[in-house]
Amino acid sequence: MSGAPSIIVPRGRRPQRLSMARVGIYLFLLISAAFFLLPLYVMVVTSLKDMGEIRLGNIFALPQHLTAAPWVTAWGSACQGLNCDGMAGAFWNSVKITVPSVALSVLLGAINGYALSFWRFRGAEFLFVVLLVGAFIPLQVFIYPLVRITSAVGLFGTLPGVILLHVCFSLPLMTLLFRNFYGAIPLELFKAARVDGARFWSIFLYVMLPVSVPMIVVALLIQITGTWNDFILGLVFAGNDNRPVTVLLNNVVNSQFGEKQYNVNMAATILSALVPLVLYFVSGRWFVRGITAGALKG
């Protein structure tokens, strides 16, 4: 006898009542959440302790004497080697690099995506495929020639130079995103604008740009995060005067001089992660949309 119930009890994927399975699901999610949040928690509490407390060796413990001193030090006088200028300068360097790079690359990406989606011509497909492959190529492949080229034209180690390179290497992803976005916009909208007498730039400006606002927000998020988080371009091309936070943070954290100030290091780490973190938690779903849009196309 199979003991088949005469009444069909709803079971399977989506039961509404609290069962053992439900408890298990929440338990798993909570443990996972703990794993993902733990480093963030440790970062924050470490940055609020003094070194004496840290040496006790319990990284999970809440600070017993709250201190903001590591933050002040990190911002104003954290050391990389013998040079103790803090993160402040690098923070503003990152802003100076990120703002123009992002503005330019998003604008160019939108124009490229628009031109490639609606104004088809021979060679466009080839350009796009090369761009697509290019999005994945390791920077190491380009670095030596780029050092030579930028040195030759006097852009090596300058702010405009590093901005230009950021724009260049953002173009593939930005173009890809906007082309996919415009590819999903009905061709009829474009045709209607042509019948109405709009030309290349007026169609872009009056018809396409207004409907691209969601895509632009997503692109901005991806670009700000990506540019802010860049390390290699900043390391090689920014020069001593324009070091972004990532480069400085690395120098601070891995500084070989003196005793390591772990609390200062963690404060500096949070400071350099602040912009992407705030953007992430403020923008919420938009960020997720950006990541899926960027990752799924290829």
């Binding site: 996972s32 733990l38 290019g134 994945f136 030309r199 802010w228 290091n265 899926t292 290829g298």
Partner: protein, 294 residues
């Protein structure tokens, strides 16, 4: 006449695309070819045109440090991809159970992906600190026999990198696969219930195969990230202890900027490029195939 008219019509488009075209064909293809060419010369500090065939490659492939780098990359790559996939898939499946606070959970699992590798490396370097990090904290909690000072030993440093990068990247896989799960026809659940198939089996035999495109995308993206891994190593271990976590990307950089061996460096970079292209090939082939079928 028609040709001229057509040209005039698309001229603005050509102008608009010209910066990108210059980038693609000038900088991009140009630098790529330049690097490849140098890799076949005997260039040291300065590039020369003394072509030596595959000599640089031969030397590179017998260089101990390169061999170790590639081994580390392979171990790191496999562990990273598998780890991210397994954890990402589990997170996606569990989050897809109509749970409360779904958005909060998703935000928590994904936020590390918004952080740079340098930040990730800095945090985990601290967590793995042998004398003050997780090790001591766990000992204080009474957990013994678990050495989490992974970065202190050349044998385990790579696994330290793996854990840090899974923390950073698993959320990405979750988001990609969650999108796939949401795309699965909900009627499948009704059908399997009618047919008496258990949820676990439904996931294993019906849903996961449906996720194949998402899984493939994830593997390619993560695999390429593994070939390119650089920032994280620099921030976490500087390739050490000894050469315990040296990777190709870092080796190439040090050949370029510390050892001034351009020929060997470009040969290494070219091999990295080949690895990326190999990983990319199935995806490109598939998307081309799909387009062809349409």
């Amino acid at each position: 006449m028609p040709l001229l008219i057509r040209l005039r019509r698309i001229l603005p488009a050509l102008i608009a695309l010209s910066p990108t075209a210059v980038f693609v064909f000038g900088i991009f293809l140009g630098c790529l070819i330049w690097t490849c060419v140098i890799s076949f010369t005997s260039s040291k500090l300065l590039p020369n045109t003394d072509f030596v065939g595959f000599a640089q490659y031969a030397r590179l492939l017998t260089t101990e440090r390169w061999i170790v780098s590639v081994q580390h990359m392979a171990v790191y790559g496999v562990a990273y991809v598998v780890g991210c996939l397994v954890i990402g898939l589990l997170l996606a499946i569990f989050i897809d159970q109509k749970v409360r606070f779904e958005n909060t959970f998703r935000a928590i699992f994904l936020f590390p992906y918004a952080l740079s590798f340098i930040v990730t490396g800095a945090v985990w370097q601290w967590l793995f600190n042998p004398s003050m990090g997780l090790n001591t904290a766990l000992a204080g909690l009474g957990v013994a026999g678990l050495d989490l000072g992974l970065l202190a030993s050349p044998d385990t440093a790579v696994y330290g990198l793996v854990i840090a990068s899974i923390w950073q990247g698993a959320g990405l896989v979750m988001v990609i696969l969650l999108a796939g799960l949401r795309g699965v026809d909900p009627e499948i659940w009704k059908a399997t219930r009618v047919d008496g198939v258990s949820p676990a089996k439904t996931y294993l035999w019906i849903v996961v195969p449906e996720l194949a495109p998402g899984i493939l995308t994830s593997v390619v993206i993560l695999g390429i990230a593994a070939v390119k891994v650089y920032d994280l190593v620099v921030a976490m271990t500087q390739g050490g202890p000894g050469l315990g976590s040296e990777v190709p990307a870092k080796f190439v950089m040090s050949l370029l900027f510390e050892r001034a061996n351009v020929g060997l460096a470009t040969a290494g970079a070219t091999l990295m490029l080949l690895a990326v292209l190999c990983l990319l090939a199935p995806l490109l082939y598939l998307s081309y195939f799909r387009r062809g079928a349409r």
